[in-house]
Every structure is written in structure tokens, then in C-alpha cells.
């Protein structure tokens, strides 16, 4: 009953601790350390890591970069959205705005691209389905990740950060082709 009464010993801090508790604390601590080491380990040996590359930007500046890419590499159009096929290894851009991911990208399998992402207005969530890669996209920040699609097919970018009444209409596409 001493959980809600003052401890039975005045010097409770110097009473010995049971073996069972010490053992458990030791096991739990080791497990916490293993979990800590997994993160740096994955940075060195794992293949899925975010870069630390990001820049401050603003909507017009990022929009200009997207427009330049669309002008150079546009190969078609779907539902009024341009489809863009930039060369492998290049910088590719995708912007999120109410309520669209723009433009549609066509990438080659097993090639890497530097993907730049930013938002024109509010927070958006870049959720690549069905692969299930999820990133937070903020206005004013340009995030750069190197992505190397290892599956061919049609992939959808769902917005998974609430962005107003049209949030559930906000989709984008990435096509990965095998040559």
C-alpha cells in the first residue's frame, strides 16, 4: 500500500534493488542500444535513407524550375497534366499544390534521379503508392532525394497530409518504364 503512502524507509534511495529489476533494466537498456545502432548502421549499409539536402525556396522560384523541366522534356499529357521524361541522372522536379501533384514523371527502371520536392501553398504529404514511401513536403523548403526506382509500372502519389477540402482529390503519377 505504499504506492500512495510515503515510502516505508526514510532513506529509500539506499535500499537495495531486486535482482529481477536489475536484470530487466539491463536487458531493456541493451535493446535500446541495439535500436540506436540500427539507425547509423542503416545509414552506412542500408539502401533507404533520406539525404540531408534541402534548400529554402519560395513558390515562384520552385515553379520556374518545374516549368523549365516541363518545357524541355514534355512527352505527352494525361488529364491535362503534362507527362515529363527527363534523362536518367538528372534533376527532376515535382510540386504539390491545392490539389495536385505536378507534373507526371516518367522514369527509367534502375536509373537514379535527383528528385526535388516542394509545396506551393500548404503542407502536403508525398505518399508513393503502392510502394509506400512517405515524405512531408513543406512550403518554402525544397527537399532533394536521390531515388532509384527498382520496379516498373504505374505509381501514384497520394497526398497524405491534410490540405483542405480537396485533399482527397490530390493525386499524382510516376510511371517507371523498363527498356
Amino acid at each position: 500500500m505504499s504506492s500512495f503512502l510515503p515510502p516505508s524507509e526514510r532513506n529509500w534511495w539506499s535500499t537495495p534493488v531486486g535482482k529481477q529489476e536489475i536484470l530487466w533494466i539491463g536487458i531493456a537498456l541493451i535493446w535500446c542500444l541495439i535500436m540506436f545502432f540500427m539507425m547509423p548502421y542503416w545509414h552506412i549499409y542500408g539502401k533507404q535513407n533520406l539525404s540531408n539536402e534541402a534548400y529554402q525556396t519560395n513558390a515562384p522560384r520552385f515553379q520556374a524550375k518545374v516549368d523549365a523541366m516541363v518545357a524541355s522534356y514534355k512527352v505527352g499529357e494525361e488529364a491535362g497534366v503534362p507527362i515529363v521524361k527527363p534523362p536518367p541522372g538528372s534533376d527532376v522536379y515535382m510540386l504539390g499544390r491545392l490539389w495536385q501533384w505536378y507534373p507526371i514523371l516518367e522514369l527509367e527502371k534502375n536509373q537514379s534521379y535527383r528528385l526535388h520536392l516542394s509545396s506551393m501553398d500548404w503542407n502536403h504529404g508525398f505518399s508513393l503508392q503502392p510502394v509506400n514511401i512517405n515524405l512531408q513536403i513543406l512550403p518554402g523548403y525544397e527537399m532533394v532525394i536521390t531515388v532509384a526506382p527498382d520496379q516498373a509500372g504505374e505509381f501514384t502519389v497520394v497526398c497524405n497530409e491534410f490540405c483542405g477540402i480537396g485533399h482527397h482529390l490530390m493525386l499524382g503519377k510516376i510511371y517507371v518504364k523498363e527498356y
Binding site: P7, S8, K19, C32, Q48, A79, N123, L135, Q136
Partner: protein
């Protein structure tokens, strides 16, 4: 001069003004829970795609209201009651500055009403997180600010009460463990409210046009200093209540005061920066910072929770074994009072918080694994395990304990109360498990339409995802039913429950103390230290709680297996660097 009454059944002393404040805060909390529960039904029945009840605008509005009422108002009102109980009642002392406490309560009520009105008006459907630059109406933020100021006053009244108790020497030795845990919660609360002020005050000024720009990244970093830390208040508070419940039900004493208190101390030292795990996939934040803040900082707090996970049921096991339930590993648990909702509520909350809430929280708080989980419906599944079951169910169990003691009423419909924790836990577990599954399949959180009807481009989730969301919907409805049963029992007890004290009446239930004749003690006898054990228990003996240790190892095995399954899943997605 402060007046006290003593509860003849429990022996707890109540200071008149503290008692009224506890009642008022508990009732305000229950009202918030009622609002949250009704809104929850709207959320559940919309996300269950085959039902898809609400239109989009109402859904987002309802989801905003549900989050704020459940996560902020219900829990913090109830925690104020716990703070007053853990200080004034447990230490047998008068409450410091009751008028200030009432002012705090009034501000919290005004803030709660103001915020709910803003959401109800429809121009503040910004979700609980209200990420700038999306903007809500000014009174949305002002309501939250007033609520936080009120809560802050409550925290200082709690601290003042501790000081009075020490000066008046109302207790021998050190403060009890439960009060120590409440103090932990209070300290974390002060940090939380400071973070809240730092971000919400400028956001409020921005919403009325005095500030031109709120940086989106800064908002998220500081907002989560409040948003996540406020959940750590809950953890500290509900772990304290766990210790209280095992103390009251089983006469259990902590296995080691030193270990349990050190674990609480770890919460204060290391939980705060754990809010970093909300921004693991944000731009502009370095990996070193993320790894440091989620591992060094958070894992020492995880360690603390793992310690409580052993010592809370462990202390119960030791007490039960001392009573002769020594057969096998688990007789102590089998012979526990499973028909008493105080016990069943506490125990289910402990298990679900640890196995579902704890494990998923650490897994998704891992820097790289967050990539496959961030903002999917996995996230709400996690925090429903921690907050909606861990904290909320614990508070429900505590309510069943307090209705006779504090309100002097017998439980209304005890049969309903008896099964309530079972219904609530079963429903919530079902919902949580299937939301975790759907999140793994990529289903987005805070999303009105899995079908994307009307979108220019098309996308379809897998059939399994739909099935999972439907089962989660069924679980959610069952959970709401469990919540409704709780409210029927609680409100019914205040209105119709058998009076355990002649003067316990309807209005007494709503903040006014019992009849003056009940308060006949000027200053209670000094609280004595817990009796010493006849035999020295610690240190020498081997395993005093083998059953608990086996349960703890089971948790660890689940934890390890599930953790590496997620790394394996991560390794299968597109390479990123």
C-alpha cells in the same frame, strides 16, 4: 480555515475546496469525452468506406473536433483532477490558492467552448495540429491559449499545494510515489505549455494580421514540442494512476521506490525531444539531429516505460503472492478481481499500451522506418493504443474507483460497469490492429475518400486495405459503444446512484461539496510512512515476480521480432539516398 472530510470507506481525506475542484474538472472532462465520442462515430463511419457517412467538409470538421476534444480537453481536465487528488488528498493538506484554481478552471472552460465554437462554425477545419500556413479563425487559437493558461494555473496550484504540505509537515518522510509521478506530469506539463505558448501566440497574432509569416518547418518543430510532450504528461499521469490502483486494490507496494522514481525522472529528462520523431521525413533537418533526438533522448524514456511495465504488474504480483496466490506462474493474475472494472480497466490499459502502443511507437519513431509509416493511418492506430486505451481507459478505471470515494455514490448499473472495460478494449484493439494493417498498406490518415472519386487521375487501394478499414470500423463502433457505457455509468451514478452519504445529492455531484456536517476535521492526522515489511523482501530473494518477468520477456520478443520485420519491409522499397 480549510475543512476536511474523511471518506469512511477508503480513509482518504478531502479538503473541501480541492474536492469541489476535482469534481468540476472530472465532470468537464466527461463532457469533453462525450463530445469526442460522438464525433468519433462520425469519423469511424466515414472512413469505413462502405458506409462513408459524412460529406467531405463535415468529415474534416468532425475530425478536427474529435482530435482536440479527445486528446486535449478530456485528458487535461481529468489530469487537473488527478493533480489535485495526488497533492491535496494523498498528502492530507489544504489546496493552495483555491480561487486561483477556480480561475484556471474557468479559463479552461472558456477556452474549450471558444475552440469548439470555432470548429463548429466551420472555418477552422485545420485538424488538431493546425499546421501553418493553413489558417484557422483567430478564436480557434485563442481558445487553445486560454485553455493552456488555465491548465498552467492548475499546475502551479499543484506545486503550491506540495509546498504547503511540506511546510505544514502533513506527512512523514518523502512524498508518495503516486504524488511523485503526478509531479513528473506537472513538470512536463509546464514545459509543454511553454512550447505551446511559443508557437500558438505568434500563430494567433498571424491569424489576426499582426505577423506576416509563420515558417512551416518552425511551426512543426515547436508545435510538436507541445503536441508530443502533452502525450508524455498523459503517460506520466496514467502510470501514476496504475501505481495508485495496484496500491488501492492489492495493497501493493512498489518493488523498489528507487527504481520507479528514477524511471519517472527519466521521463522528465528524456521525453521532451522525442517530439523529433514527428519530423523524421521533413526537409531541412539533419539525420544526426534526428538520430540523436529519437534514440539517445527517446530510448531512455522508452527504457523508463519498460521499467514501469515490469514494476507495476510486478508489485501487484508480489502483493498477490504474499496473499497466498503462489501456484504456478500466473495464479496471482488468474485470481485477480476480473469482475471489478477498476482492475480490468487498469490491466487492459497496461497490456494494450505496452504491446500495441509502445511497440508501434518505437518502431515508427525509428528514423528510416518512418519512411514507410509517416502520415499513414498507422499513426492514429498507434496513438489510439497509447492515449485512447492507455490513458483514457486508465482514467475510466480511476473514475470507477472515485465515484464512491469522491462523489459518495454507488455505481449505477454495476453490471454495465463490469463489462465496460472488456467492450471498450475489445473494440479498440480490433480497430487498432486493423488500422495498423491498413497503414502498412499505405492508407492515408486524415483522408475522406479512399476511392478518390472525382480526382483527375485515378488510384485504387488493394481490396485488403478496404477490408481492413471495414473491420477497423466495426472495432471503432464497438469502442464508441464502450465509451458510451462508461458515460452512462458515470453520469447515471451522479444522478441516480445510491447515496453512500446522506448529503450526497445531484448538485453535490457537480462541484458543490457535501453538506457542511460532513466536514468535521480541521487538520487530519499526519500521514505516516508505509509500514515496514516484516521480512526484508528486496535484494536477497531471487525472482519475486516470475510471472511478470515472463510477461515482460514476451513483450520484448514481440518488440524485437516486429522491429526487424519493419526493417525488412523497409529494405524492399525503392532505394533512396
Amino acid at each position: 480555515m480549510a475543512q476536511f472530510r474523511v471518506c469512511p470507506d477508503s480513509g482518504f481525506y478531502f479538503d473541501k475546496s480541492a474536492e469541489s475542484l476535482m469534481k468540476a474538472n472530472a465532470v468537464a472532462g466527461a463532457v469533453s469525452l462525450l463530445i469526442a465520442g460522438i464525433l468519433a462515430l462520425g469519423v469511424i463511419l466515414t472512413r469505413w468506406q462502405e458506409v462513408h457517412l459524412l460529406p467531405a467538409d463535415v468529415f474534416y470538421q468532425v475530425l478536427t473536433g474529435h482530435g482536440i476534444n479527445a486528446l486535449i480537453f478530456w485528458i487535461i481536465f481529468f489530469e487537473m483532477a488527478i493533480l489535485y487528488f495526488a497533492s491535496s488528498t494523498l498528502l492530507r493538506t489544504r489546496l493552495a490558492a483555491p480561487r486561483w484554481a477556480w480561475l484556471g478552471f474557468a479559463l479552461m472552460i472558456i477556452g474549450m467552448v471558444m475552440n469548439n465554437v470555432a470548429v463548429l462554425q466551420g472555418n477552422s477545419s485545420v485538424m488538431m495540429t493546425s499546421y501553418a500556413p493553413m489558417q484557422a479563425a483567430p478564436h480557434f487559437y485563442l481558445g487553445l491559449i486560454l485553455f493552456a493558461v488555465g491548465a498552467l494555473i492548475g499546475c502551479f496550484v499543484f506545486l503550491g499545494t506540495l509546498v504547503i504540505a511540506r511546510d505544514d509537515r502533513t506527512y512523514e518522510g518523502s512524498i508518495p510515489l503516486v504524488t511523485f509521478g503526478a509531479l513528473t506530469a506537472c513538470i512536463i506539463a509546464i514545459f509543454t505549455i511553454a512550447s505551446g505558448a511559443i508557437i500558438l501566440v505568434p500563430t494567433f497574432l498571424w491569424s489576426i494580421g499582426y505577423i506576416g509569416h509563420i515558417d512551416a518547418a518552425m511551426y512543426r518543430v515547436i508545435w510538436w514540442g507541445m503536441g508530443h510532450s502533452s502525450q508524455q504528461i498523459n503517460v506520466a499521469a496514467h502510470v501514476s494512476v496504475w501505481y495508485l490502483i495496484v496500491g488501492v486494490l492489492f495493497n501493493a507496494r512498489p518493488m523498489s521506490e528507487k527504481v520507479s522514481r528514477s524511471a519517472f525522472l527519466l521521463y522528465i529528462l528524456f521525453l521532451q525531444l522525442a517530439s523529433a520523431h514527428h519530423i523524421l521525413v521533413d526537409p531541412g533537418i539533419s539525420s544526426e539531429w534526428k538520430v540523436f533526438n529519437t534514440s539517445y533522448a527517446m530510448y531512455l524514456a522508452v527504457l523508463a516505460s519498460m521499467i514501469h511495465g515490469l514494476t507495476v504488474p510486478g508489485s501487484m504480483e508480489v502483493a498477490q503472492r504474499a496473499k497466498g496466490y503462489t501456484k504456478g506462474m500466473f495464479e496471482w493474475l488468474r485470481k485477480a478481481p476480473w469482475g471489478n472494472p477498476v482492475f480490468s480497466g487498469f490491466f487492459f490499459s497496461l497490456i494494450i499500451f505496452g504491446f500495441l502502443g509502445g511497440i508501434t511507437g518505437v518502431v515508427m519513431g525509428t528514423e528510416q522506418i518512418n519512411l514507410i509509416i509517416h502520415n499513414t493511418i498507422y499513426v492514429p492506430a498507434h496513438f489510439h493504443a497509447t492515449v485512447a486505451v492507455g490513458t483514457t481507459l486508465t482514467f475510466m478505471a480511476l473514475t470507477y474507483l472515485l465515484i464512491p470515494v469522491l462523489f459518495r455514490r454507488a455505481l449505477f448499473l454495476p453490471g454495465v460497469a463490469k463489462i465496460q472495460p472488456y467492450v471498450f478494449s475489445a473494440g479498440m484493439t480490433l480497430m487498432i490492429l486493423f488500422m495498423l494493417g491498413a497503414g502498412t498498406l499505405g492508407v492515408a490518415r486524415r483522408h475522406w475518400d479512399m476511392d478518390f472519386t472525382g480526382a483527375l487521375l485515378a488510384f485504387e487501394y488493394s481490396g485488403t486495405a478496404y477490408t481492413m478499414m471495414a473491420v477497423a470500423g466495426i472495432g471503432g463502433v464497438l469502442g464508441v459503444l464502450g465509451g458510451a457505457m462508461y458515460l452512462v455509468v458515470t453520469v447515471g451514478s451522479l444522478l441516480f446512484g445510491k447515496k453512500l452519504d446522506e448529503s450526497a445529492g445531484l448538485f453535490q455531484g457537480f462541484g458543490v461539496p457535501l453538506a457542511p456536517s460532513a466536514y468535521n476535521v480541521e487538520q487530519p492526522e499526519r500521514l505516516q510512512m508505509a509500514p515496514k515489511l516484516a521480512v526484508e523482501q528486496h535484494g536477497s530473494a531471487g525472482f519475486e515476480a516470475p510471472g511478470t518477468f515472463a510477461l515482460a520477456l514476451a513483450l520484448l520478443v514481440c518488440f524485437v521480432v516486429y522491429y526487424f520485420i519493419n526493417w525488412d519491409y523497409l529494405s524492399s522499397v525503392w532505394p533512396l539516398s
